[in-house]
């Protein structure tokens, strides 16, 4: 295609070595190249999947004395309900038997996130300051991470207990874990739901 060597048949036959063109038609080679590119593009996955790392408490029986007790004033309990509904309450059941107030919300930015940000304001502000400092002073990533985790582990941080009802979906669980990251909450745990929490939901829904 690229070069056509027209031989004149009628002419006199030249004696000696025929001069052949050294040019090679590269079109098929290009075809082949692009075919292989297409193949590789389609079969490869360029994006590595993201992961979220979680640790669950071990099931071994921890002696009562070593168990970490949660201060009621720091505790936030989040219940994941049906149809992406989230319930939450602060603290625990009072000693005099009054129930904590259960509030219904959702996963929208104005929902559970606002509550958590409010509750965690101190740490959120500190992290924001740290971020600013990082940009200003060109802090190393590792130092930043260390400092950030130090801030998250502060004693004043709230402790979130995540309890999912049987009607919740996996998406709800990942979403709420995501909120923990967004709101810089360092202490949270996924706990099994108990009868008491279920009764609170029932009461709220009438």
């Amino acid at each position: 295609m690229a070069e056509l060597n027209v031989q004149d048949k009628g002419g006199k036959k030249k004696k000696g070595t025929k001069k052949m063109s050294t040019r090679v038609d590269l079109t098929p080679m290009v075809d082949l190249g692009f075919l292989l590119i297409t193949f590789f593009m389609l079969t490869t996955s360029m994006i590595k999947p993201q992961t979220m790392e979680i640790s669950m408490p071990s099931k071994d029986n921890v002696p009562e004395a070593e168990q970490t007790k949660i201060k009621a004033s720091k505790a936030i309990t989040i219940l994941l309900g049906k149809d992406d509904i989230v319930y939450y309450y602060f603290g625990m059941k009072e000693e005099d038997g009054t129930d904590p107030q259960l509030i219904k919300t959702d996963f929208s930015p104005k929902g559970i996130r606002d509550i958590l940000l409010q509750r965690n304001a101190e740490i959120v502000n500190k992290i924001a300051e740290l971020k600013k400092e990082k940009i200003d002073t060109k802090m190393q990533d590792t130092t930043y991470k260390r400092k950030a985790s130090e801030i998250r582990a502060l004693k004043t941080s709230p402790i979130v207990l995540i309890k999912a009802t049987d009607d919740a979906s996996y998406k709800n669980l990942v979403d709420i874990l995501d909120e923990m990251q967004i709101c810089n909450i360092g202490k949270y745990a996924i706990v099994d739901i108990n009868e008491y929490d279920l009764s609170l939901i029932k009461k709220l829904n009438g």
């Binding site: 590119i37 009802t165 009607d167 990942v174 874990l177």
Partner: protein
Amino acid sequence: MPKVKVTRKSTTVDMTAMCDVAFLLLTFFILTSNFTVKEAIQVNTPSSISEIKIPETNIMNILVDPDGKVFFGIDKAENRIALLDEIAAENKLTFTEKEKYTFSLIGTFGVPIEKLKAFLNLPPEVRDMKENALGIPCDSLDNQFKSWVRLSRKINPEIRIAIKADQRTPYPKIKTVLNTLQDLRENRYNLITSLEELPKGL
């Protein structure tokens, strides 16, 4: 009047440059590629803002589909063969060399141990069919999933657990999987998610 001479130009283009580009790109793709491993089921993962990338090796893949069926797979062909040997020894089964080889090629699978032999002897196109995506039994009566995880850990102590579940999977199904893992004192997991943008201002 003189004739206007139209110079005839050759329509052929020099392909050398194009060829260079094509092969340059080809080299790039070959070097950067890691092949997508076919999974037993298609899973629609939820999204999260987490940006941690999953390591490439030493991964135990656990897939959970919306019905709660569990699929399982580990990486590296030699580990897979070792795992099959362990499972065979534990369940008093024997697998031929050919079956072992077939098993070493499968990324993730979801069949009960009793049906594994028959499954491995199926032609590949039948193997991928929906009817064969049975899921590994994971209930308290017959928890084969538990033995798969336990033996994988035995073969490769550094293996990490990656859980990839569909976003519609009901929580109780996930809980059974997590509980099984907790029973084995496996307390660290990677939940595979797709990327979502961090909300503004945070």
